[in-house]
Amino acid sequence: MAVVDPLIELRDVNKHFGTLHVLQDINLTVGRGEVVVVIGPSGSGKSTLCRAMNRLENVESGEIRIDGQPLPAEGKALARLRAEVGMVFQSFNLFAHRTVLANVSLAQIKVRGRKKEEADRRSRELLDRVGLADHADKYPAQLSGGQQQRVAIARALAMDPKALLFDEPTSALDPEMINEVLEVMQQLAHEGMTMVVVTHEMGFARSAANRVVFMADGRIVEDRPPEDFFTAPRSDRAKDFLSKILKH
């Protein structure tokens, strides 16, 4: 699929976990402002793909470029590049010893070199945007899962990233909290944020994604607009997957 203005590019990426070939010749381009949802059965390599994009997982061969720049090796250059690509995790991963406000401000101060007042002001704006302005002085453990995940999104946004990676952001949440997180993500998608979202939320994929990437056994099996994919999947693997999850 031709992409006009590529922001994230993966070329012939391969990775093994022991004998498991978890990423097999992955080619994927995500354009600026695009929302790409990655779905597939568990163990298909979706999370690894997502984590490879900011080198939390090393790949063995192939090339990954962010905004034209190849991902550098471990070190300061990689840190700088990671600051441009925010990440939201399944398990929130808020800093447990810091308040909500400090969680959002910390990297702004340490990485972006902002003054504390400036960082805190920006943090409060973002917390207000995700509906948590009143919780700024609480600790992460005092918040619900959905609230913690929204703080994590605010924390990632605070770096003014070019793109956001979501690694199963709602999989650890109670059902009634999933929507509050998806709403924030929907809003980001409408505002034109470039997003790669690994998820099992088919509703989100249908309504917010520009493209759906279906992975199975370490390969990208389909890469198509959501309507096409959900109404007429081409591969048997995808048909089988969809029949299992959409039946209820």
Partner: protein, 214 residues
């Protein structure tokens, strides 16, 4: 009782010697242990290997042997230092291996994801360790580090065998002077207790102040 009052200055010197050894070697052990723990979790492989080798060698060498190695070995390479300094070096390096492992166990109590989150925000390894991981690891390592430093205070007795003035060594002079060996050792034991209990109290205070709140 006489043995203490008659030889107060001798005991005092020995006591101060042990205190000095303990304080300086502790400082060295804490700094080195901290650096080695950072090495052992570093993203660079050669650092991890160095840290692991440091711990393996020092933790598994008998302390007396290490004293011999430092006191007799280093001068052969032209490094001649006062015995006190050699003793601090041997004790500090030896204990740093244990401090390193205590710190590392503390680092392992901090969920891996928090480190990943910090790195994904663009924080460097040093920033991640310094602002996210260690402040949380610190809380759970206070008790084991206290124990390690208490062990260090007692291990410093070995230095006495290498002509360093310290508490246990005072018994030689006193027994030559004909004092009861039992009372000599009782007062030596009291001296050690003073030092180790002080460390205990210090770490209890630290734990109350910074320990993990439950």
């Amino acid at each position: 009782m006489d043995v203490l009052t008659d030889n107060f200055s001798l005991y005092g010197k020995g006591f101060l010697g042990t205190v000095e050894l303990t304080v300086y070697a502790s400082a060295l052990a804490l700094v080195l242990g901290f650096v080695m723990a950072a090495f052992r979790v570093a993203p660079v492989g050669s650092f991890r290997v160095f840290g692991a080798a440091w711990v393996t060698v020092l933790r598994n060498t008998p302390l007396t042997l290490l004293f011999f190695a430092v006191m007799l070995g280093l001068p052969r390479f032209g490094l001649v230092l006062p015995f006190e300094l050699f003793a601090v070096l041997a004790l500090g390096c030896y204990t740093s291996a244990f401090i390193c492992e205590a710190l590392r166990s503390g680092i392992n109590t901090v969920p891996r994801g928090q480190g990943e989150a910090a790195r994904s925000l663009g924080m460097t390894f040093a920033q991640t360790l310094g602002t996210v991981v260690l402040p949380q690891a610190f809380r759970s390592v206070i008790p084991p580090i206290g124990s390690t430093l208490i062990a260090l205070a007692k291990n410093s007795a070995i230095a006495g065998a290498f002509s360093v003035t310290e508490l246990l060594g005072t018994y030689k002079t006193l027994s030559e002077l004909g004092y009861s060996i039992i009372w000599t050792f009782v007062w030596i034991a009291v001296g050690y207790l003073l030092i180790t209990l002080t460390i205990s109290v210090l770490f209890n205070v630290l734990e109350k102040r910074w320990g993990v709140a439950r």
